[in-house]
C-alpha cells in the first residue's frame, strides 16, 4: 500500500511539471498585456508600460521566465501579482476562507439532499416519489447557475427583500448577530450552487443504488429475513457508496477552485472571482498560481480517491 502511494506520488512529479509547463506557455502566448489599461490613459507615457514590462521580467524569453518561475515556486515564492503588486500567496489565502465556506457548504447541502433522495428513490424505482425526484433533478441540472442566481436575486432580494445579494466579508457586529448575518448572506449562493450539484448527484446515487440493489447477495439478505431498513443501509448503501465517494473526492478540488459564475453574480470574494478578474486583467502570476494549485489538488485527490477505493472495497488491490 505505502509502496503504491509512493509510486503514485513519484509519477505525479513529472505530470505536474508537464502541467505547469503547458500552463505557463499557454499563458505566455495568450494575447493581452497586464499593463494594457495604461495604454489607453493619455496621462501615462508609453515608456512607463515598457519600464514595468522590463522590471517584471516580461520581456525575457519564455523558457527563462519559466525557469525563474519554477525556481521561485520550489523555494515557496509564488510570485507577486502585477495588478495589485501583492504576493500571490497572500492574495489567495485572503480569499480561501470565503471560498471554502461558501462552496464547502454548497457541497454539504448537495450531499444532504442527494444521498437520502437518491437512496429512497432507488428503493422504490418508478414510484411517484422517484418520478418527481427525477424530474426535479433534470430541471435542476438543466438550469445554469447564472440563471438560477439571477432568478433568486429577483425573487428574494428585489421582490421580497429578504436577503442581501451583495456578499460582504466585513459584517459589523459580533456573536450571534455576526453569525446570523454570515449565514443569511450565504443562503442564496449556497442554495444556487448546492441545488445544482444535488441534482446531478441525486441521479448518480440513485443509479449506483439500483446497480447494487439487484445483486444476489441483497436477495439473500432479504431471504434471511433482515429488515428492509437494515438491508438498505448496511448491505446496499455501503457498496453503492463506493463510486459516490470517488465522485465526492474528485469534487473537492472544485471546492478550492471556487465557482466562477456564482461568485461573480453574488460578488463573493473567492478564488473563482480572483481567477476570472486576473484572467481579464492578464495578471499571469495569479492565473498561473491558481490554476497550478488547482492542478496539484486534482492530482492529489485522484490519489486519495484511489486509496479510498481500496479501503472501501478490499477486492480491489492496489499494486
Amino acid at each position: 500500500m505505502s509502496q503504491y502511494v509512493l509510486r503514485r506520488l513519484l509519477i505525479a512529479i513529472p505530470s505536474l511539471l508537464g502541467i505547469s509547463l503547458v500552463l505557463f506557455v499557454v499563458l505566455a502566448l495568450a494575447p493581452g498585456d497586464p499593463f494594457s489599461e495604461l495604454a489607453t490613459n493619455p496621462n501615462v507615457p508609453p515608456e512607463v508600460a515598457l519600464a514595468l514590462r522590463a522590471k517584471f521580467g516580461l520581456d525575457d524569453p519564455i523558457y527563462l521566465r519559466y525557469l525563474h518561475w519554477l525556481n521561485a515556486m520550489l523555494h515557496g515564492d509564488w510570485g507577486f501579482s502585477f495588478v495589485s503588486r501583492m504576493n500571490v500567496d497572500t492574495l489567495i489565502l485572503q480569499r480561501l476562507p470565503t471560498t471554502l465556506y461558501v462552496i464547502g457548504s454548497a457541497q454539504i447541502l448537495a450531499l444532504l439532499i442527494a444521498i437520502p433522495v437518491g437512496v429512497y428513490a432507488a428503493t422504490k424505482p418508478y414510484s411517484l416519489f422517484d418520478q418527481v425526484a427525477n424530474t426535479l433533478a433534470f430541471v435542476g441540472f438543466s438550469l445554469p447557475t447564472f440563471f438560477t442566481g439571477i432568478l433568486f436575486i429577483l425573487i428574494f432580494s428585489v421582490t421580497l427583500d429578504w436577503l442581501p445579494f451583495v456578499y460582504t466579508t466585513d459584517i459589523k457586529g459580533t456573536g450571534i448577530h455576526w453569525l446570523a448575518e454570515t449565514i443569511r448572506q450565504a443562503i442564496m449562493p449556497v442554495a444556487v450552487l448546492g441545488l445544482f450539484q444535488a441534482a446531478s448527484m441525486t441521479r448518480f446515487v440513485r443509479s449506483a443504488m439500483l446497480d447494487v440493489i439487484r445483486l444476489d447477495y441483497v436477495t439473500t439478505a432479504r431471504a434471511k429475513g433482515i429488515g428492509q431498513r437494515r438491508v438498505i443501509i448496511k448491505h446496499v448503501m455501503r457498496n453503492a457508496m463506493i463510486p459516490v465517494v470517488t465522485l465526492i473526492a474528485l469534487q473537492i478540488p472544485a471546492v478550492f477552485g471556487g465557482a466562477i459564475v456564482t461568485e461573480q453574480i453574488f460578488r463573493i470574494p473567492g478564488i473563482g472571482s480572483l481567477l476570472i478578474s486576473s484572467i481579464l486583467s492578464n495578471d499571469t502570476p495569479v492565473v498561473m498560481a491558481v490554476t497550478f494549485v488547482f492542478a496539484c489538488l486534482v492530482v492529489l485527490f485522484n490519489l486519495i480517491a484511489d486509496v479510498l477505493y481500496g479501503w472501501l472495497d478490499p477486492r480491489i488491490s492496489l499494486r
Binding site: S36, V83, S84, M86, T169, S273
Partner: protein, 596 residues
C-alpha cells in the same frame, strides 16, 4: 476681436463692475466656460474662483456608514501605480492632493490655503513657476506633520524612472523646490498655461515621505504602505483586500471643519454594472454605485419606485470613429498601415465626408446612450470654452450617396459602389462592449443603404487596448479601415488630448506602435497649431488655437464623433454626492453627506 472684448471684461471683473458669475456666463455665450474661464481670469490678473461648497452638516461624523460599490474593485492603493481610475478612486479615500476640481470645473483647495494667481503673486507672470502655500497643522494619519518635504519627496519619488510611476508624465518636466516648511514652488521649463496639473486631482495625491523614503526607485514594490496607506484624508485606512474591499473609519483630526460626515466608509468591488445599479437604485443595499454604464431603458425601469437614482456628470469623453489614413491591407517593411502607404479609399476626401454623413448620432443617442450621451460634431468636447461652435453634423443617406456619385463612386451589380476597380468595402473594428456593437450595427445599416459594404469586427478589450507588439488586433496597430473607442480626458485641459495627433507621434513599427497618432494623419497646419498652443500663455489665443485644431480634425474627417459621453453614477436618494466630470468620483468625497 474676442481677445479685446475679453480683456475689457477681465478688467471689469477686476474693478468690480462685473461679477464673476456674470463673466462666466458671458464667456459661456461665446463658447468658453468653466475651468478654463476661471484660469483665464487667473491669468488675466483675477484669482481663480474657489469652488462653492454645498456641504451642510454642522458637525463632524454622525452620518453612519457610507457604502460604495465599485464594480471593478481597486486592486492597489498607491495612486502613482494606479492601472486604472478605480485604483486612483480607492487611493483618494486616504491620500489627498493640494487641490481638486469641483463639478463646475472650479478649483477646490484641499491641502493648500490659497489658489495661486498673479494677483497674490503665487503665479509668475511669465507662466514659468507657480507657488503653493500649504495648510498648517495638517497631520498624517499616524500623527506625523505634513510639510513641504512630503510634496517635494512625492515629486522625487515619481520622477525616478526605476519607480515606474504611471503619473510620471505630469512631473518629469517640472521642478519642485521647498521654499519653507509650508511653501513649495513648481518650476516649468517653458510657459505653462495649464499649471494646475501637478499635485491637483487624482494624479496629484501626495505620499508621506517618512513611509516611502526607503522605497523609492527599484524597491518601490516592497513598500508596506502600498497596501496600507497612511494619508491626510477624511478617512483612515482599516483594511484592504485587492479587488474586493476597502474599509476606512473617520479621521477625527481631519483638517476641514465639520468634515467628514460619515463614521465609516466601505468600498466593495466585483460583479457587473447592472447588478451594481440594482443594489443601489432598487434594493438600496449600497449608497453609491460607480460608473453605471447600463442601457438607459434598464436604468429608467430600476428607478421607478426605487430607493436611488442615476446622476450624471459632464466631462470631455468622446466616443469616436477614427479613420485610417494608411493602407491596412498592404505590408511595407513588415508592417501594415505603414505611414508610407495611402489608404486606397479614404485618400478620396469624398469617401470620408460621406462616411461622416452616415453616422446617425441621434439614433445612437436614442437607442444606446440615452441620458448619458450628447450628440456632437466635435472631437474636442470639453472644457466648454474649447468647444468649437464652427462645426455641424448631419445624418443623410441621400447626401452621402450624392457626394459619392459626384466623386465617381458608382454602384456595381451587387449595389456596392466602386471606382477604378476599387470597391467601397471597409472593415470597422472596436472592442467588445454592448453599446459599441450596437453602434456598429447602426452605422453598418446606414452605410449599406449608401452602397458601402461594412465588415464588423470586435476585439476583446484586453487585446484591443493592449500594447502587445505581437498582436495584430490592437487599436494602435489599426489593421482595419475604421475603428471606434474613446480616450478619456482626465483633466480640464485639452493640451494632452490634442497633442496625440501631432505628426511626430505616428504609431509605427519603429516605435513599437507606442506612437499616439493611430489614425496616422499628417497635417502641417495642425502640427503648427498644436506647437503654438503648447507655448501660448495668452489664454484667449490658446483657446482659439485648440478650437482651430479641432476644426482641422473636423475638416479632414479624421474622427467621426459618435457621442459625447457623460459619467453615469447611481446614488441613494438621500445621499448628496459631489461628482465632477473633470475628476475622479472620490475627488470631492470630503463634501459628501446624507440628507436627513
Amino acid at each position: 476681436m474676442l481677445d479685446k472684448e475679453l480683456r475689457s471684461m477681465i478688467g471689469d471683473v477686476k474693478d468690480g463692475r462685473m461679477d464673476r458669475r456674470g463673466f462666466i456666463q458671458r464667456l459661456a455665450a461665446v463658447g468658453l466656460t468653466a475651468p478654463l474661464a476661471n484660469q483665464i481670469l487667473a491669468l488675466g490678473g483675477v484669482a481663480m474662483a474657489e469652488g462653492v461648497s454645498t456641504y451642510k452638516p454642522t458637525k463632524r461624523g454622525g452620518g453612519g456608514a457610507l457604502k460604495l460599490l465599485w464594480w471593478q474593485g481597486p486592486t492597489l492603493l498607491n495612486p502613482h501605480f494606479a492601472t486604472g481610475t478605480k485604483d486612483q478612486d480607492g487611493s483618494r479615500l486616504f491620500y489627498e492632493p493640494l487641490a481638486c476640481w469641483d463639478p463646475d470645473g472650479n478649483m477646490k483647495l484641499v491641502l493648500a490655503t490659497e489658489i495661486p494667481s498673479t494677483q497674490n503673486g503665487l503665479l509668475a507672470a511669465d507662466g514659468k513657476s507657480v507657488t503653493w502655500k500649504l495648510k498648517p497643522g495638517v497631520k498624517w494619519h499616524d500623527g506625523k506633520p505634513f510639510t513641504a518635504d512630503d510634496v517635494v519627496f512625492t515629486w522625487e519619488y515619481i520622477i525616478d524612472p526605476a519607480t515606474a510611476a504611471v503619473t510620471v508624465a505630469t512631473y518629469r518636466d517640472i521642478t519642485v523646490e521647498k521654499v519653507d516648511d509650508l511653501t513649495v514652488r513648481l518650476g516649468f521649463k517653458k510657459p505653462t498655461p495649464f499649471w494646475a496639473d501637478a499635485f491637483v486631482g487624482a494624479t496629484g495625491q501626495i505620499l508621506p515621505k517618512h513611509l516611502f523614503a526607503e522605497f523609492k526607485g527599484s524597491k518601490s514594490r516592497e513598500a508596506p504602505a502600498n497596501l496600507a496607506p497612511v494619508g491626510t484624508g477624511p478617512y483612515k485606512f482599516v483594511e484592504f483586500k485587492p479587488g474586493d474591499l476597502i474599509r476606512g473609519v473617520i479621521n477625527p483630526e481631519y483638517h476641514m471643519p465639520n468634515r467628514p460626515h460619515f463614521d465609516t466608509i466601505e468600498m466593495k468591488g466585483g460583479g457587473d454594472a447592472v447588478s451594481a445599479a440594482r443594489a443601489v437604485i432598487q434594493t438600496g443595499e449600497y449608497d453609491f454605485g460607480w460608473n453605471i454604464q447600463v442601457e438607459d431603458d434598464v436604468l429608467l425601469r430600476l428607478e421607478k419606485g426605487g430607493k436611488g437614482k442615476t446622476i450624471y456628470a459632464v466631462g470631455g469623453d468622446t466616443e469616436f470613429i477614427a479613420l485610417n489614413f494608411t493602407d491596412p491591407t498592404t505590408e511595407v517593411d513588415g508592417e501594415r498601415s505603414s505611414i508610407k502607404t495611402k489608404h486606397p479609399l479614404f485618400s478620396d476626401p469624398a469617401v470620408r465626408k460621406a462616411l461622416s454623413l452616415l453616422v446617425d448620432r441621434e439614433s445612437i443617442k436614442k437607442a444606446i446612450y440615452g441620458r448619458a450621451g450628447r450628440t456632437t460634431a466635435n472631437f474636442l468636447n470639453g472644457p466648454e470654452k474649447f468647444v468649437s461652435k464652427n462645426t455641424t453634423w448631419e445624418f443623410s443617406v441621400e447626401k452621402a450617396s450624392k457626394i459619392l456619385d459626384d466623386a465617381g463612386w458608382k454602384p456595381g451589380a451587387d449595389g456596392i459602389r466602386e471606382k477604378d476597380g476599387k470597391r467601397l468595402k471597409i472593415v470597422y473594428q472596436t472592442s467588445i462592449n454592448g453599446p459599441r456593437q450596437k453602434t456598429q450595427a447602426i452605422v453598418k445599416q446606414a452605410c449599406q443603404k449608401a452602397g458601402i459594404d461594412v465588415e464588423l469586427k470586435s476585439v476583446v478589450a484586453s487585446v484591443f487596448f493592449s500594447s502587445d507588439v505581437a498582436n495584430p488586433d490592437t487599436y494602435a496597430k489599426f489593421y482595419a479601415d475604421i475603428e471606434m473607442f474613446q480616450i478619456p480626458m482626465s483633466q480640464p485641459d485639452p493640451a494632452q488630448h490634442m497633442r496625440r495627433y501631432h505628426s511626430s507621434n505616428v504609431a509605427a513599427k519603429e516605435n513599437k506602435w507606442q506612437g499616439t497618432n493611430f489614425p496616422r494623419w499628417i497635417n502641417k497646419d495642425y502640427d503648427a497649431t498644436i506647437d503654438a498652443a503648447d507655448g501660448e500663455m495668452d489664454p484667449v489665443k490658446r483657446v482659439a488655437l485648440y478650437i482651430k485644431a479641432n476644426d482641422l480634425l473636423f475638416q479632414d474627417t479624421v474622427f467621426i464623433p459618435a457621442q459625447h459621453r457623460l459619467k453615469v453614477e447611481a446614488s441613494a436618494n438621500t445621499l448628496r454626492p459631489v461628482i465632477s466630470g473633470w475628476a475622479n468620483e472620490t475627488d470631492n468625497l470630503f463634501d459628501w453627506y446624507r440628507e436627513e
